[in-house]
Symmetry: C2
Subunit: 325 residues, 2 copies
């Protein structure tokens, strides 16, 4: 049974949501969680969900890092915060395979580096999402916002790591890897992507070349490699455009509430990335999953499912192998 560290703080809806989602994961998937947070609250919610006290462990703290604190706060301080306690446990306990948090993204980035540690050759982790917007298969977008100012060598690492993630998390045997650009033709792009193109085409990957903005939904590639700035705006734009479409459906089909709901359920499934899981750090020594602030019970469940898939596919070993080539 997988032991997973869960930081209960950071979700907009409150820690109860994360605890309830974890309880669901115990019941449905059979994990053993180490919950980091206020013990009385955890026990209360777990009892309400019918989970016995021997089905989980608690690291008791009511201190947490807010979104307003600087990312660097976890460098040498905030020892009693849930995030630092979670990282410390993940690092030191060989039986813990992963952690989940919807905390401060910057603090999680710094925590991944200085509290957990990175795989060889990695200086900075990337943030990667598996997105349902491109069709039946999940699309891997890397980087989603961790490395805002990139070099071409960052793109090379993103391509290697995205390829492993797509295989292990999305079950795609030989992922089609492309570089986000302003058109599919060779030679299209900015100085950075053109340089990255030359390097990535020499890698032993199923490289499909340049992509364009529409390829977030076209299904033309399985892995989109891009800098964290572009990845972040693409992610937020796709999600927001999908939600805008849902508003239009609700308005125009207001006299057909059941049909509107059915359409919007499908739009939600396609364009609400939060409902499908969470972002995963790539390049970290153990699996770290970052849920969005608007995470709900299903996000926790989806995150745990993703961790299980990655574990089954021997993700960290595959990643180490890919990075050493």
């Amino acid at each position: 049974m997988e032991k997973i560290v869960v930081d209960i703080y950071g979700a907009d809806g409150g820690p109860e949501i994360v605890i309830r989602g974890t309880a669901d994961a115990i019941k449905k998937i059979g994990i053993f969680p180490v919950l980091v947070g206020y013990a009385d609250l955890i026990k209360k919610v777990m009892t309400e969900k019918g989970i016995s006290a021997d089905a989980y462990e608690i690291i008791d703290t009511d201190d947490f890092i807010s979104n307003n604190e600087p990312a660097t706060c976890v460098f040498g301080g905030r020892e009693t915060s849930s995030l630092v306690l979670a990282y410390n446990r993940l690092k030191t306990d060989d039986t813990c395979v992963a952690m989940i948090s919807s905390g401060n993204t910057g603090a999680m980035l710094v925590g991944s580096i200085c509290r957990l540690g990175l795989l060889p050759t990695i200086k900075f982790p990337a943030l990667c999402s598996a997105l349902p917007c491109a069709g039946d298969k999940l699309l891997t977008l890397v980087d989603c916002g961790a490395v805002i100012d990139c070099t071409a060598l960052d793109f090379v690492r993103f391509a290697k790591m995205g390829n492993v993630f797509s295989r292990c998390c999305c079950g795609i045997e030989n992922p089609r890897v492309g570089i986000m650009s302003v058109g599919r033709e060779d030679g299209k792009g900015n100085a950075l992507t053109l340089e990255a193109f030359k390097l990535i085409k020499e890698l032993p990957l199923n490289f499909v070349g340049n992509l364009e903005g529409s390829d977030m939904v076209s299904g033309y590639a399985d892995v989109i490699v891009t800098d964290g700035f572009s990845g972040n705006i693409l992610l937020k734009n796709t999600e927001a455009t999908g939600k805008k479409a849902m508003e239009i459906v609700s308005k125009i089909a207001k006299d057909y509430p059941e049909l509107a709901e059915e359409i919007n359920k499908e739009l939600f499934k396609t364009f609400d990335f939060n409902s499908q899981g969470a972002a995963t750090f790539l390049g970290t020594k153990k699996i770290v999953v970052k849920m969005h602030g608007s995470a709900n019970e299903n996000t926790v469940l989806a995150s745990v499912e993703q961790i299980i898939r990655l574990q089954k596919a021997n993700f960290l070993n595959e990643m180490s192998k890919a990075l050493s080539n």
Copy 2:
């Protein structure tokens, strides 16, 4: 009556579409077009549309620049091509106020520089679109793909020019100008946007600070300033995501064809940028409008309407004033 040069070539649907759209503009808006293209075809289509020969002028040529030709082909050659003939006429005829083409974007960029000329202080034109995706008011996105590798000073020019365009084309008195970034907080962004932020906040503009990907549809800003790489991927992503939503509507609501059509008409109006007009070059000595390859009759009409709005608002004078400050 405004005299507008129309290059009939470049639309995927063939030159007839552009001629028919121009005929509609004569009837509905009352312009006098100078059509550049094969005279026999122009006369035939105009006659079919009931337009008399004295309602337009022709510059006869059946030569045109394809999308596969390098942008630089217009530097010193291609004298008989429709695009070069159009630029030459626009430059030398004081009574011509603007031109429209759906030709090769790169060739139009180079043509705008070396065949037409730019306003003082401008070294490279920007490409700007007025988009319906953000709500009731048209959103100005600059740059949409002309200046792929930008400096912070390019951002300053985009902000000034986008502000004038928003006032003159979209009728927004005091446009809210923002910089596309990875979050709305000050301090978010890449090295380029952070540098641009410092410069733009000193300008006499209604500066709302940083934006994020969702602000393409949120209505939080009237002008989005961004590099041509990010602008291009945002434009294509928003449009493609909207079309994907339309596919989902058609599939789920297949038993309610009328309702599906009504929803998709609204989605199309919101997310199909081609149907709403075209991109405008900023910084050129006269107005140059670039239609998408998939332009149809309505695109021509919308482009002409946009030119008329810009003319009425004294666009070029306003632009010169803004750039000299």
